[in-house]
């Protein structure tokens, strides 16, 4: 392997579009995912996440744009390519009559160089449940087994479509541990989620999708340019509830408290709020996509 090979993005998308009849589900997406990173595709239901990920997996045909996954066009890629990716679908019930171990063995048989099944069982935290039929496993355990079945072929790239939707907090935490463990294996992970905290916890980089477009992208901590967003100061003054929005909170607060001391009124219920990631996310995804277009997209 030479440097240029390593530097080549694992996923590269340019101007991706997908329409169903008159409805445009994906309206021009550009992005790259690099080797070894965990990339999260974050957005509300109906934003176009699953459509995009299924185009990358080769299940759907795109209407326009260019896509390369592991250097191949998924629409034309064959068995050898499928041996290099692992897929966890948004919803899939595993065969309830096979045990966890048998399900993994079955899938291992499809690949040229599978990982040892016991190792995978350990990796997804199912050591105590390996000989349990999958129908008897909890939802969270089934999902981790599903991740294990995607891992057993030892793929370079893993697609996880909403891996923790519908989980209770404990099950989510366990799933997160399993996914975070993939980083140590050097896998590239493309994850979709509608949970902000999931993206924040797992991803190196995030793209927020709304109405078929990417409306923000970056490392979780710098998403939506949170540092330069205005601060909101609220309090109850003599005239009732007051809310101030400011980009210079230190000066504004100094002025406010100075006035309160000088004029002798209390700042009841004083609150200083910076936008949380959740706020940024909600603001970005609730606005009509037109108002928050990150890139130039010709309007139909």
């Amino acid at each position: 392997m030479n440097r240029s090979f390593l530097a080549e993005p694992v996923i590269s998308i340019k101007g991706l579009r997908k329409s169903y009849g008159d409805t445009e589900a994906v309206r021009g997406i550009d992005l790259e995912v690099n080797r070894g990173e965990i990339f999260a595709f974050l957005g509300p239901n109906g934003a176009g996440k699953t459509t995009t990920v299924e185009i990358l997996e080769g299940y759907r045909k795109r209407s326009g744009g260019e896509v390369a996954v592991l250097g191949m066009d998924p629409e034309r890629a064959g068995r050898e390519w499928r041996g290099r990716i692992g897929i966890v679908l948004q919803s899939c019930r595993l065969d309830p009559y096979l045990t966890a171990r048998e399900s993994l063995e079955l899938y291992a048989g499809y690949y040229a160089h599978p990982r040892p099944v016991d190792e995978v069982i350990e990796l997804v935290g199912l050591a105590g449940k390996a000989d349990e039929r999958t129908g008897k496993l909890s939802g969270g355990q089934q999902r981790r087994l599903d991740v294990g079945m995607a891992l057993v072929g030892d793929p370079e790239l893993l697609f996880l479509d909403e891996p923790t939707t519908g989980f209770d907090p404990a099950a989510r935490r366990q799933a997160w541990e399993a996914i975070a463990g993939l980083r140590e294996l050097g896998k590239t992970v493309f994850l979709t989620t509608h949970y902000m905290d999931e993206a924040q916890r797992l991803a190196d980089r995030v793209a927020i999708l709304s109405g078929g477009r990417v409306v923000a992208r970056g490392a979780p901590e710098e998403l939506g340019d949170r540092d330069s967003q205005p601060t909101v100061i609220t309090y109850r003054g003599p005239g009732g509830e007051v809310s101030l929005t400011t980009t210079t909170p230190v000066e504004t607060l100094n002025e406010l408290t100075g006035r309160a001391l000088a004029e002798g009124f209390a700042l009841d219920g004083l609150e200083v709020k910076r936008p949380s990631l959740e706020d940024v996310y909600l603001e970005l995804t609730e606005q009509p996509a037109n108002g928050a277009v990150e890139q130039e997209v010709p309007q139909p």
Binding site: G58, Y59, R82, L89, C92, L106, Y110
Partner: protein, 253 residues
Amino acid sequence: MNMLIHQLRYDQKAFWRNPASVFFTVAFPVVLLLIFATVFNGQTIEVDGGIEITAYYVPAIITLAVISATMQSLAMSLVIAREDGRLKRGRGTPMPAWVFIAGRVGNSIVVALLMLGVIALLGRVLYDVPIPWDELPAIVVTLIIGAAAFSCLGIALTALIPSQDAAAPIVNALLLPLYFLSGIFIPDDELPSGVIEFANHFPIRDFFQAFFTAYLPGGDSGLDWGNLAVVAIWGVAGLLLAIRFFRWTPRSG
């Protein structure tokens, strides 16, 4: 080829652990044989110059068992796997599509052969219906042609079944009346000729006649090429429809 044997092994495991598949394909034909052969035991019927009714029911119920192990079982289990997302998931692996389908069809043929043994043995032990050992090659060839054809029809039928809940009603609504009309439940000398004529348009009747011919000892037994050809044509038509209309992704959701 190794992958096919691998697939077949796990299909077999899953099949035998599924109470619904074991009931419909194994227990149901056995129960039917016990009911029909016990209730009508001792009667003779005007078929093939007069035979014991039990000698009629053994090949009739084997015919039914072969169709349930193939067409019925495949249509139901493939729709369930499709709607669960398992077919789609499998397509995302390097496993070739033909391995998956061949595994399922192979599984059905194994079960059909096993049912041949079970019903033939019960017929021999309980009702003194001789097992025509001399005809074994013709019986096995007939059974395999039928099993392959009804497997193809079962796979094609999945295209008409929109959901898991619809699978059993659609399959049964199609097969149960045809079993009756084709003389599987009621001996064909007691059915009006119009009924038989109607049933002749469907492959269950053809397969039953071919299998009956192969199973009856002596006389004009052996391979009934005419009826087998009709069954095979149905099978090929099913295969072409399956190739055209079979889908790997769930219809719902």
